[in-house]
Symmetry: C2
Subunit: 169 residues, 2 copies
């Protein structure tokens, strides 16, 4: 058998990984196209791809890329940058920020807290149900306070493992 050229081989290997990991993210609640686009970026060497490259690699229409990128930038998992001397747009994974985004359900948790506070107020803090809600609320408040410290520890650990060169971002 003829050894396939590096790039062809890579294309298939990458595709396998993209589809596999994206499927997991979908299962976890991410919409399909954003998941695929995101993983494709993650698996690209530069961490940057153009709309056209994504469109071709994932076999989807430019419109689908556009929608996916809009979603991803809303949740801060990807940023868009205009390539200077061109009308091409480039999309980039936030090297080490993206998992913060995944962790940062902050906005979500904040809304949960609002709903729970309302619940405690309207059911009454002296009822069994009210107490249960209050405890749940306290849990989220606790987590919200813990997460920043944990991320701080992560940065230290990251430094330790990979050195500070941050070749990525």
């Amino acid at each position: 058998m003829v050894e396939p050229s590096g790039t062809e081989r890579d294309a298939e290997v990458i595709s396998r990984f993209v589809e596999h990991f994206a499927a997991q993210l979908v299962e976890a609640g991410l919409p399909r196209m954003p998941a695929r686009v995101f993983v494709a970026l993650l698996a690209s060497d530069a961490g940057v791809l153009t709309s056209a490259e994504l469109s071709e690699q994932l076999k989807i229409s430019p419109a689908a890329v556009s929608g996916a990128v809009r979603y991803l930038s809303q949740v801060r998992m990807v940023s868009r940058e205009r390539e200077p001397g061109s009308r091409r747009e480039r999309y980039r994974v936030h090297g080490d920020q993206w998992y913060e985004a995944l962790t940062n359900r902050e906005a979500v948790i904040r809304r949960w807290e609002v709903a729970l506070r309302e619940g405690v107020a309207s059911l009454g803090g002296d009822t069994p149900a009210g107490r249960r809600l209050a405890e749940t609320l306290a849990f989220f408040e606790f987590v919200e306070k813990e997460v920043p410290a944990m991320m701080e520890r992560w940065r230290a650990r990251r430094e330790e493992l990979f050195g500070g060169d941050g070749a990525d971002a």
Copy 2:
């Protein structure tokens, strides 16, 4: 205006809360019926409701309740118990375990890690993309190690706030 009886008033207040909080959970990725059933249980004084009660309170068919409960017990957010001298089944929120379930995306994260390890292996740990994946993987491994300690601190904090009587479970 005649003051409505306590229970009627509660019914509406509870319903407001149930729908509001459930909507947030849905937005966060939980299917609608499971979310509504879950919150209804959370807002019930005993933390326990029968299928019939859920069906009536949420205005959904017994079939929908059944499906929702199946989902919830799979993700360990609710447990089912047979009421001794009756064919009624009772569904219960795990007093203080349910947020552990929400936190315990463990299974999910585990699968992500598998996919990422594969990715590192096939892209090569010496490529930029491979390094990015490796870092992501390291992050999840880190989190997985941190969560148990955090939950331990939460239990201590909970004790401190609410005392150990655990009137709930």
